[in-house]
Symmetry: C2
Subunit: 490 residues, 2 copies
């Protein structure tokens, strides 16, 4: 059994939702939280909505105050207005709960000194009583294994990625976006103002958590700098750790201050922290998402800058080559041996075997032989295929590689599975990772997501466009170079 002071925070057995509203338009206060928790599979008999004006909500009995709940409660979600929090704090202490998530906003982030003082006082009272606090001004916990979530529609299956985020909206966006890509989470926490539990607490926990293999973070402020540096170092030494920092511009810093009362700190300090700790720095939300896919798929195995770009059509291949070069990667000419091999089964007109490779590998055998030659060619470290989305497999022997009308259906799905399995076996054989850019079919939407998940489950990363795929490869290489001297993670 994993022992950690925060373990109980992530695994409550009974939850009270204080300040539930009868107004369904009240968003989270109007049932969002308890619906999300029930959907996630939390024991409904251990969910206690609290509202003195209501008898029940969504089939659950309502209690007038926390004190009236019949059984022990470990975790409290506070949706009451800020001025009601002092009373709730007394109740939490009397009830001997273990953790409080203050969804309640209106404290230090308003810039009002009295509210900042109240935040400090309330949190001190709780922590003095041994109660840990998440927030205020945040969405709290998503722990699929414990049946906790702050939004409906998050995946129920647990995974290996730990997310800590000061912003609830960004946490929600990261979870939804990565879930569509196939990623699953061990735990996620949105911690807002971080009045008690802060980034360093979560980095330290995630570093030790046996369910967590990768740690990703969205931060606005740097609180308790020394402890943070130590925690990030400790975490990044053991597990791939990816950090996106908001508020690095003057306007962003001002926004961060009014969002989570954060003092943003400079770009230099933050860059130095990531560099020294061996963490990966995401510059944008897209970076954070793509790097998470990269470190949890074969992309992490990439050893060098030689990219084989497979797929047409011509003008797209030209711009793709430029985009790959813009990231400092190479698209080297194919070796003579590989070209000879490819020429044996690729017709001349309208195709090129010179990298970028605009070849129509039409049958399974051509595909297998072609990809083996390409991945095995001298100077090739990674194969980036842009003609390899789901549409490529629902087709017949169409000259233009376009999806055949109708009848794709099951056959298409079988083809996808079997082609992805083939890629996995070619990867094993050649030790060269394959990346897929989903060019020929929608990246968004249910079908696109099903395809991404199918590939991801086999350890193959799917990206929305060539620039993002190339950037992910480049950032992986930079990070590996930067980790020289640190223990090997992969």
């Amino acid at each position: 059994m994993f022992e950690h002071p925060l373990e109980a925070v992530f695994h409550p057995r009974a939850v009270a939702l204080v300040g539930v509203s009868s107004n369904p338009n009240a968003g989270w206060g109007g049932g969002g939280f308890h619906q999300a928790i029930l959907d996630m599979g939390f024991n409904p008999e251990a969910v206690y909505p609290i509202n003195p004006k209501m008898e029940e909500i969504g089939g659950l009995k309502c209690y007038p105050t926390l004190l009236e709940t019949p059984d022990p409660v470990d975790h409290v979600i506070s949706m009451v207005p800020a001025h009601v929090v002092p009373t709730l704090v007394e109740h939490c202490i009397a009830k001997r709960v273990r953790s409080v998530h203050l969804f309640t906003a209106g404290f230090s982030e308003t810039g009002d000194e009295r509210m900042a003082a109240l935040e400090q006082e309330m949190v001190a009272k709780l922590t003095d009583a041994g109660i840990r606090v998440i927030g205020p001004n945040c969405m709290g916990l998503y722990v699929p294994g414990s049946g906790l979530a702050f939004s409906r529609g998050f995946p129920k299956e647990p995974g290996n990625v730990f997310l800590l985020s000061q912003s609830g909206a960004n946490a929600g966006q990261i979870i939804s976006t990565l879930a569509r890509r196939g990623v699953r989470f061990s735990k996620a926490v949105s911690f807002g103002n971080g009045a008690d539990l802060k980034a360093h607490d979560f980095f330290n926990y995630a570093a030790d958590d046996p369910q967590t293999e990768v740690v990703i973070a969205y931060m606005e402020g740097i609180q308790d700098g020394r402890a943070l540096v130590d925690a990030v170092k400790r975490c990044a030494r053991k597990k791939p750790t990816i950090i996106l920092k908001g508020g690095l511009s003057a306007a962003g810093a001002r926004a961060a201050n009014s969002h989570t009362a954060s003092l943003a700190g400079s770009r230099q300090i933050f860059e130095a922290l990531c560099r020294q700790a061996g963490a990966m720095r995401a510059e944008t939300m897209n970076d954070l998402v793509d790097l998470t896919v990269a470190v949890t798929t074969s992309v992490k195995q990439v050893k060098g800058r030689g990219v084989a770009l497979v797929g047409g059509p011509g003008g797209f291949a030209v711009l793709s080559s430029d985009a790959i070069a813009a990231e400092g990667l190479d698209v080297p000419p194919m070796s003579e041996a590989a070209k000879r091999g490819l020429r044996e089964f690729i017709p001349v007109a309208g195709t090129s075997v010179n990298n970028p490779i605009d070849a129509h590998l039409r049958t399974r055998q051509q595909f297998e032989d072609g990809m083996r030659l390409i991945a095995g060619a001298e100077g090739i470290d990674v194969v980036l295929s842009t003609s390899y989305g789901p549409a490529a497999f629902g087709v017949g022997e169409n000259n233009n590689g376009e999806p055949g009308a109708g009848e794709a259906g099951n056959r298409g799905e079988q083809n996808v599975s079997s082609a992805l399995d083939l890629l996995v076996s070619l990867q094993g054989e050649t030790k060269v990772p394959f990346l897929i850019v989903q060019r020929d079919s929608p990246f968004e939407g249910a079908r696109g997501s099903a395809y991404q998940e199918a590939a991801y489950q086999r350890g193959i990363g799917v990206f929305s466009d060539v620039p993002r795929a190339a950037r992910s490869v480049r950032l992986m290489l930079d990070w590996r170079a930067r980790r020289e001297g640190l223990p090997d993670i992969f």
Copy 2:
């Protein structure tokens, strides 16, 4: 009547499609072209498929050769294999056609010297007979006003944008992507190897064409450098001219060479050309698309770097501010006067009026008053709204600004129209352009497209994310600065 030597090329009255295939899997050769032309409204009695082995195709009578067609033909689309082109050339001369579009590939772009020589010889024969050639190795013409198209699904309504593209695939992507954004085209031409008609011919034509107000180009090679420089200068002086150049990297240049037989030329030469001519240089496909939207909407009116960023939620506003700053734009604090005005109707908790402005402007009156204060505030040159997609209008008084369930429907659409009209009137009043980032609803899909078109028709640009919107503003400002001394276009 506009007189220009190329006018006839864009307005043929009868088209022969030579080499139509009976195999529907043969893509364009299998009916793609004639279906596209018929869909676009070309007179079916003036469309002549040519194939000696077929009696009819898609309800149209087939002729054995071009010579057997009963009436005059101005324009020929060649889908025959390269080795059949010499015969076709004789027929075209005998039939006295005016233009030939060689869809046929397999000439100079193969790198085979004999095929390059054949290309030159065939094109010389045609031009000596006064016949202009588009291609070879290209998709040819999309002229909605003439009923010409090279793909089904292109808009039937003509517009004001002229596209020239060496790549057919890129032309198709540019047209489809921009069409979803609301843009319409005067003419588009994919000209491949450019053996006869080249980029400079099309720039010169577009500069004079009264239907064309904006000229956009995707180029791979630089052919006839002096003529090109003159044509781009002439064009850019009169009309906004946006150029994307593929093949600027070594790998991209190699790809361009095997794609359209292009010698790509250096980045320096190309940058100098754009700078001296006063053209806008697009670095990526996204740039080309976004800049086209920018120069055809109110974005083109932007005068300075002060951005008001309107819309939450908090963490998103933080990252958005950073992204705007990364483009060298400012998100300056709101003036005291504007803040006082906003505070009068915006509640404190969970909102900020300090720019970024995370305010819930719930009613139409609040929206109007708020946007007027924001756009009119000192130091604000452009308003970038991220909470203003279609979902914002289908909602009730939801605390979280989330779309109300159901019942959006017609009311939503009416709200969209009326809110967009309001923006237009606020723009007129404040002289500050509004940009919309479609964050709260899908940018892709039918609903997203309908929204973008509705906004575009009113001259309001919609962008898919904040970085791209900010970059478009910055590129517009750079371009305006660079045009100092040239005649005012807007």
